[in-house]
């Protein structure tokens, strides 16, 4: 197999990692909503922590996207 073809296949495989980010972020917001529906007054106080948790979870998905982009454009 030539290197070009292998790069494209590798880039496609690397995007599978984004599924984990989707599960993580969905889990996070789902739990937040479920808690917020039980205790709406406490929800706004935790919003900053929610956004921080979203960003660090999303980062792991972006790491796998980074591998895909590196394979496509930089290797």
């Amino acid at each position: 197999m030539e290197a070009e073809a292998a790069k494209f296949i590798g880039a496609g495989l690397a995007t599978i990692g984004l599924a984990g980010a989707g599960i993580g972020v969905g889990n996070l917001f789902g739990q937040f909503l479920s808690g917020a529906l039980r205790n709406p007054s406490a929800a706004d106080g935790q919003f900053a922590r929610l956004i921080f948790g979203f960003a660090v979870t999303e980062a792991l998905g972006i790491f796998s996207l980074l591998i895909a982009l590196l394979l496509l454009f930089a290797v």
Partner: protein
Amino acid sequence: MATKEGGGLDPIHQFEVKSFIEIIVGGVDLSFTNVSLFMLITTACVIALMALPTSGRALVPGRWQNVAEMCYEFAGNMLRDSAGASGMRFFPLVFSLFMFILIANMLGMFPYFYTVTSQLIVTVVLAMIVFLTVIIAGIRMHGLSFFKLFVPSGVPIYILPLVSLIEVISFISRPVSHSVRLFANMLAGHITLKVFAAFVVSLSALGTVGIIGAILPLGMTVAITALEFLVAALQAYVFAILTCIYLNDAIHPHH
């Protein structure tokens, strides 16, 4: 897409580093590049944003002074909530990092402006500043008992070496994830923007049907631009809040 398409339509062309003034000192390339230029512009914008409105020192702030005060209080509250009153000695560092990354990300959203945080070396330097500050501050404040950070309490003695090794590895991986998070978010965001913009151009080249169909990637480009503004601000906030958390670990080591 790995090769250059016609007319610079590839999404990597925007990250090209062009040097304006060649400066080579002893084999090391210290040229003044477009990256350097935009870092200077970022610094000038931050200084202008903070210094110009507050020069009047009005007791009831006008609009711009209010913006400067809001940025100051936001960063101050973030640091005080994470690291306590004794952590406020690091406020200049945290505030500078937060404002620099925020303005650098926002400046990158303008067309034809360079996003300096989309270069790995820039974010690695910022993360190493934080990492070295954490280590040096921790050792200066607590001496060698700073390294008790890697020995959590309540661990049975026979797996202590393994747990300590895992703690050290996870400590070393902090600047890696700290820098790559910001870098990858900015890089991926701008590449996505360019890819959708290239779709608009390549669809419109197909005649009138193409131009009508090009409205779809155009709408997507608008949506992704809005998302990129959010991500730009969010990544600056996440970088700063993680800095505050790491500084808290150094100042108040939990045994």
